[in-house]
Symmetry: C2
Subunit: 498 residues, 2 copies
């Protein structure tokens, strides 16, 4: 056991903001350094506005060499660095460190190369997700991962968070659509991870890097895998008068060997919240609806839609509607993709959770969340990637009430800990960041957290990159005081446990 | 830069074999410890018989607790440990360390749990790959990765090597079909990596572990993802009178948005070698044949086969034949899967390489290999996972001629280094092991190798697990004297290089 103590992660920050800015101005043009509070303020949080902090300085480098110089300078001064894309993250991962530098990558926004024959694009980290698909559309290609924030979020941020989206059930997460990453460590080492081949020799450091939430290095270039646009896509909207039936339908679709392009569930609270806003044509009387997409060649889609409909009927769908046109299909998705803003219309504030559970536990967990609504006296709409078992409960509260804020946080923690209990995880695609760092103590054992910290130090021995996030120290876990409840659903009773 | 010196990897092995065996007998029953040379000899090599070494002792534990005790004992005595499944690996990864203990996992061969509804199986590491598919067949399921050695190789070995197979183009490598791994570090820590959900919080240590070739820990339990058996599968055999046309057909199939269940190429040398042996019905007059499989629902297969045929015709296939029955389909594959034994029939020895290249470079690399046949004066048959760009050139030689052995090794090294030059990798699915450790110096920069070593130490600070394999020390690279030629095909001319 290589126990990590908090001492090992402590640093003496011996420099003040003025000194840091002076050093940064030696390596960057003046317009790339923001040091006045009013200029830095817009960077104080990401999409999770619960956590805010103004950094000592914001730097906006324009070249890879400048990024390297910033990292080497911060390393020398022993100053924390937090990288940031568009700041659309939902777990506080890009929240600045008050004694650190915020490294914005927005200016590195060039698509450097498109190779349509090989179906790859080489892009800088600040390129927006949707901009990639727009640029490669003339070649009949697109970039598959489509987080709801895709109009704004950047590829660098997607890499940091291993972002998903409504189509990741079939097309995978970011890790499945990234071939190579070029990045710089805090020591200024330029490292390329991955390759154009399907597998790389040696331990797979690309997979460790994608989703490492800015803890290991700063991305300077990403080689993306592009996907041919399908000839046709159609969405089935299936209504159910019982959430458990809808959940069972999800498992049955997968058990039938069908991998839908998307398979999303929304409960009645969610459809009734969204419909007046988007007018997507949702069945607002159903206890839950599923949106199930088939894409591919024309004949394939006809065949797959028929098979999907048969499953839904067998499981007891009360109503089935198949999109008749591309505009209707997009409208069905528009309702789903606008669920968060719709929540913002009906509640002063909402708190979006991101637990993942085995699909078989969907019904059980949804019923438990309903019971929690009474327990915490707060409403919760459920909108989620059902095919992945990735829940996005939207807890509605009013941040003007300190009591409601506390109840919302407790409600969220209770959902996440239930996810772990049924064999799931505390985050599907939004990352741990600041938000779920306590739940990491529940998800992982002391020995497992040790391994994360060991890998962290292999890349960042001084723990300067995005410190105090993602992986909790043992002291923090002791303080949080909740037990590790690993591996709920699988009985390992015949093995010793430590 | 955190330069790793060779000193950091050195150990003082201060104990002799007798002392090691004495200590092992304190924690294991006598029948689980082999210490006589004649008993250990069968473990001296794996499938790559070029490298042999007899260990100080072989242990064959029967429980997880015994594995943990072995590891803790070896850690205390500072003795290297090499884990072994069935010993079918092709890169010397399971070759014992002469001053170490060989840890055989064959006795942990129980399938502990099958959950057909969730499509998962929980197995011990010594379970054979094919035994999983056999056990779950009654539920209409199978385990997708199918290395050619699947009748003998174990799941633990598959995890160590991230094994593939002819169907991994569509169904993924081992990493894509493993949900969780339970493993023990050299310090006796029991660690579970991954989860039943599609993604896990924190850096993805499961992906780093799968394919780490026994360097990070010893697997004691694996949770596998099972796949529903398709209703139908058919194979097209397409003939081409030019290897470049066949290579282009591979790219065109993928560019058409088709993901075949398998897409394999064999050149004329290979078909002429295999046909007399297997009588698979191959077109032995063609310069190359492709085997292209479609699987799925009956209507889907009909549609996809038609689309595949259209692509092949457009690219200039001289002959197309579609399997008419399941037995003919299996016969088409039998030829491919028996290519290695067929090579053994026509040549005293053969050396199977495993480079991976971008699909677009297939034609260029195959032509270069043909030129190398003249240069090294040795024959080479090409049989490979074309869809993945994963080459398996079979270099034929006679090990009774020292000169032929040297030429075969140089031929192999030249192929691998060409793979790196065109942007590929030195290994696709067979691992680095002993065999390709020098080529790692060509594939990766000093800073990149440093990161591998850092991750290694995060799990195994004393570098006792499978030492001196996979990741070369800097001293070894200096001695090998070949340059790192990273990222051949992509022009990064506008970025500084280090």
């Amino acid at each position: 056991m290589n126990a990590i103590t908090d001492e090992g992660l402590m640093r003496a920050v011996g420099v003040d903001a003025e000194q840091v800015v002076t050093e940064l101005l030696k390596i960057l043009p003046a317009h790339c350094v923001l040091s006045r509070k009013e200029d830095s303020r817009p960077y104080e949080c990401d999409g999770l506005s619960l956590y805010r902090s103004v950094p000592m300085a914001v730097v906006l480098p324009e070249t890879e060499k400048q990024i390297q110089d910033v990292l080497l300078t911060c390393r020398r001064l022993n100053v924390p660095v937090v990288a940031r894309g568009a700041g659309t993250g939902l777990s506080g991962g890009a929240m600045p460190h008050a004694q650190g530098v915020l490294l914005g990558l927005a200016k590195l926004n060039k698509i450097k190369r498109i190779d349509a024959a090989a179906a790859i694009a080489v892009v800088e980290p600040g390129v927006r997700n949707l901009a990639v698909s727009e640029a490669v559309a003339p070649y009949g290609l697109y970039y598959a991962p489509d987080p709801s924030s895709q109009i704004a979020c950047t590829i660098g941020g997607n890499v940091a968070e291993n972002s998903g989206g409504v189509h990741c059930l079939k097309y995978g997460l970011t890790i499945h659509n990234v071939l190579k990453v070029r990045m710089i460590t805090i020591d200024g080492d330029i490292v390329e991870l991955g390759s154009l081949a399907p597998d790389s020799p040696g331990p797979d450091l690309l997979s460790v890097f994608v989703g490492s939430e800015g803890m290991l290095g700063v991305v300077t270039e990403v080689t993306l895998k592009l996907t041919p646009k399908p000839a046709l896509a159609r969405v089935i909207m299936a209504s159910f008068d019982d959430v458990e039936d809808a959940s069972r339908a999800v498992s049955e679709i997968i058990a039938a060997g069908i991998i839908p392009a998307g398979l999303e569930m929304m409960d009645k609270q969610a459809t009734q919240m969204v419909e007046p806003f988007v007018k997507a044509g949702y069945d607002t009387e159903a206890a839950a609806i599923l949106l199930c997409e088939s894409d591919g060649a024309v004949e394939e889609v006809a065949d797959e839609v028929a098979r999907m409909e048969a499953v839904f009927q067998r499981v007891g769908a009360t109503k089935l509607q198949v999109s008749e046109s591309e505009s209707q299909r997009l409208l069905f998705w528009a309702g789903r993709k606008n669920a968060f803003p719709a929540a913002g219309r009906v509640s002063p504030d909402y708190y979006c959770m991101d637990g993942t559970i085995p699909r078989r536990s969907l019904g059980q967990v949804l019923n438990a969340i309903t019971a929690m609504e009474t327990q915490f006296n707060l409403r919760c709409a459920n909108v989620f990637h059902a095919g992945d078992g990735n829940l996005h409960p939207l807890i509605m509260f009013d941040s003007n009430s300190a009591d409601e804020v506390l109840r919302a946080e407790d409600f969220g923690a209770a959902i996440l800990e239930l996810c772990v209990e049924v064999g799931g995880t505390i985050t599907g695609e939004h990352g741990v960041g600041m938000e779920k760092i306590n739940q990491m103590c529940v998800q992982f054992s002391r020995d497992e957290l040790d391994k994360f910290l060991g890998v962290k130090r292999a890349f960042d021995p001084a723990t300067l990159l995005n410190p105090e996030k993602v992986v909790p120290t043992l002291a923090r876990c002791a303080e949080y005081g909740k037990m590790h409840v690993h591996g709920g659903v699988l009985p390992f009773a015949n093995l010793p446990r430590f």
